[in-house]
């Protein structure tokens, strides 16, 4: 997502592909105004933990340094032995410097409502109880962007996308390409 954001000031749609370990992401933005965009993303860790989400990106400061705010609402779906599922909401800030090659950093938090059901069968009936357990994840990135052309930007970055506080998640690595403008 970081790779998308320098384009907000120019109010053009973007599409981006980030590939890495363990996180990869497909994302797109559509400008609503010069400072506000609709955003959609599909994020996955090794095709086991899936995080589709949509929301808004807002360009908060547009000077030598750019400060961008992100709000997302979505869903967590994790398959496998530790299967889990539930709604998510995330807020994040991205800071990056204008230029051809520039540093980027972001920090944020994601709240997850982990849903689970307990099904009890008795001789008389079957009851299903649904529980929602709150969980919190710390989000962060540190990287370098390279605006190769007016339309294409490349990024490399370290990523922290914690599964759940207080568990520790090893930082991931990734590289991304962003296309800005109409095809």
């Amino acid at each position: 997502m970081i790779a998308l954001l320098a384009s907000l000031a120019h109010a053009q749609p973007t599409a981006a592909l980030d590939a890495g370990f363990p996180w990869s992401q497909l994302s797109a933005t559509l400008p609503l105004t010069e400072r506000l965009s609709l955003a959609a993303q599909y994020r996955t860790a090794l095709l086991v933990r899936h995080l589709p989400a949509a929301g808004l990106d807002a360009l908060l400061i547009d000077q030598k340094w750019l400060l961008i705010g992100h709000l997302r609402a979505g869903w967590l779906l994790q398959t496998g032995t530790l299967d889990s599922s539930g709604p998510t909401a995330a807020a994040r800030l991205t800071l990056e410097r204008s230029g051809r090659v520039f540093p980027t950093a972001s920090a944020g938090v994601r709240g997850i409502g982990l849903l689970s059901q307990t099904v009890t069968v008795t001789a008389d009936d079957t009851t299903t109880l649904t529980d929602l357990t709150p969980a919190l994840s710390i989000l962060g990135t540190l990287g370098v962007g390279w605006q190769t052309t007016e339309q294409v930007r490349l990024d490399v970055r370290l990523t922290i996308d914690q599964v759940e506080i207080p568990g520790f998640s090893i930082p991931g690595i990734g590289a991304g390409i962003t296309y800005r403008g109409l095809p």
Binding site: T79, S85, G86, S116, Q117, V119, T120, V121, T122, A123
Partner: protein, 139 residues
């Protein structure tokens, strides 16, 4: 959204009322437990037993307990019992080396079950006694 809601992790339980009788020829307190007959693992990791709850048998050996069984964690049901002949709280401790134990098993899980446990095996722990009961129940 319906697809996502359909992916919520579920844990399944069944209520079971297990009644029965422990047949013991010796004297001393009777101790008993309810187990899964078989654990959830299969193949080379398969095991017998799987503790669920402690039973409190009457002095005459009869028992009755209603419990909620997690059906994902095993199959069937077993009642394991032993007689603490020397009253030390240990199965075959230093003072007594032939305290009798036994188990009764069923491969299915019904809402109401009746089991009769015969204490015939000296010093058999739950896993061993349940394995022997399962083996003797095979056709």
């Amino acid at each position: 959204m319906i697809f996502l809601l359909g992916c919520i992790p579920q844990t399944f339980f069944q209520t079971v009322t297990v009644t029965g009788q422990i047949q013991a020829e010796g004297s001393g307190p009777l101790l008993a437990e309810v187990h899964h007959a078989r654990g959830a693992e299969t193949g080379t990791l398969a095991y017998t037993g799987g503790y669920l709850e402690t039973l409190s048998p009457e002095e005459d050996g009869s028992f009755s307990l209603t419990l909620t069984v997690p059906t994902d964690e095993g199959s069937g049901l077993a009642v394991y019992a032993w007689q603490d002949s020397d009253g030390d709280g240990l199965l075959c401790g230093l003072e007594e080396d032939n305290e009798l134990a036994g188990a009764a098993t069923t491969e299915t899980l019904d809402f109401e079950m009746s089991l009769e446990v015969w204490l015939t095996e000296p010093c058999a722990g739950a896993e061993v006694a349940i394995a022997m009961a399962l083996e003797s129940a095979q056709p």
